[in-house]
Symmetry: C2
Subunit: 259 residues, 2 copies
């Protein structure tokens, strides 16, 4: 690999040893130089957490097919920040996060370490994508995910830099033959109905364990990632960091909060 070839920054939230990031690096290495900066441990559900009031450690590691690789004690978002502001002396052409073992559609995007890392890349003007295979089992076959990843990298590398684009890509785990295509859409509305299991350790310490069931709030809509996944399409949703609820601004003005 030579300077001049595209530089692809790769991270994830399942940790640097997960099969998903190995598949992603293998895909990216066919297109250019790969720099891996990934968490040293699983970071699922970390949302857009960053390490603000404690130390961060970064350690060079060997990673098959990667040009450079580092394990980081921080969150997925930390990994992207430390790559861009500390480790790299050139700006990556694209930033990829994944391949995540589990879905990041609908409301899951706000809890997703995978997507926070991709969004962090986009905030720096690097075309970025988080790629998720909708199966939590890390042993599942990654052939279809790898196929979609190759396609995606090709397209992203054609974009000019300084584009604030972040794609949330979710792949149904139905095998390549059953994938129907790509659905460019919006984030569907849904939420988790949570349940806390009550447990007790042998020493008598009580603790809770989160579980829950997902509810799709708009089963009739066809322009959502929820619909795509239920109908064997790969969903692609552009996301951004502007959380303003524009539709509510006038309603809030009517509350007449003033002094």
């Amino acid at each position: 690999m030579q300077k001049g070839e595209p530089l692809i920054l790769v991270t994830n939230d399942d940790g640097i040893t997960s099969p998903g990031i190995q598949a992603l690096v293998a895909a990216a290495a066919s297109f250019g130089r790969v720099c891996v900066v990934a968490p040293d441990k699983p970071q699922s559900g970390m949302g857009h957490a960053i390490t603000v009031n404690s130390a961060l450690r970064v350690t060079p590691v060997d990673f098959k097919k990667a040009h450079r690789a580092y394990s980081c004690t921080g969150t997925p978002a930390d990994c992207v920040k430390v790559a861009i502001y500390h480790l790299l002396d050139e700006k990556p052409d694209i930033c990829l996060s994944g391949i995540n073992h589990g879905s990041n559609i609908s409301i899951n995007v706000i809890y997703s370490g995978t997507m926070s890392a991709a969004l962090e890349g986009a905030l720096e003007g690097i075309p970025s994508a988080g790629i998720s295979l909708c199966n939590n089992n890390t042993g599942t076959d990654l052939t279809a995910a790898r196929f979609v990843t190759d396609l995606l990298i090709k397209k992203l590398l054609k974009l000019k830099s300084d584009l604030h684009l972040c794609l949330n890509v979710n792949i149904p785990d139905v095998g390549l033959n059953k994938l129907k295509g790509v659905h460019i859409c919006r984030q569907g509305m849904g939420n988790w109905k949570e349940f806390y299991e009550e447990h007790k350790s042998d020493a008598g310490l009580e603790y809770l364990w989160l579980t829950g069931t997902f509810e799709n709030f708009e089963k009739q809509s066809i322009d959502t990632d929820l619909w795509a996944l239920e109908n064997n399409y790969v969903s692609v949703v552009p996301i951004h960091a502007d959380m303003t609820d524009y539709k509510q601004i006038n309603r809030v003005k009517e509350l007449n909060i003033s002094f």
Copy 2:
């Protein structure tokens, strides 16, 4: 306090012992019964992290003026989930997070534990607000923040339940006399230019420490929280969990990602 009076759920990200949450509980207690569920340690920068693959512990604690209070080993978002799905047998009328010691305007909202807790309340159909005083010093005077909080609670309690409303409220730390009023607005665009300090422990372990400077990308706009704070107004921005970048959907379609 009697059942029938409004139930106000209070949390924060600075931890259950911070002066900010004490001021918030004192304010809320004038309006109804207060249930506190807050992190047992500082959780600044935790974004929308939740505890998905480990145990959560919740411990009843005494808290001045609160009806019930619990310290929780989890994140701010965990605190709201565990309150609603495990600890409470009735739905809170409103959910308040703060008073945060530090600003949550502009891009900071995505990193904010304070705002993730408030958003979690709104996702459950509870009118919610995250309240931040724009000064990281926990010893700063909270008089102005308390005044704004009282005003806000009065307004929120008038709303009907099942409203998915989440307000990001930021108060400039200029003292009550200099506050010019309330500015209902959108999240302003800006980003952090990060810098990683390099340190070494006495034992020779190298570590990094995140620091950075904030850049306002739209100094000329007056409809932003950035403008409000710079001009001594309290900013109020409604936020939501839909991260879709609607303006980019057509651009992404033009990429022709297909197979």
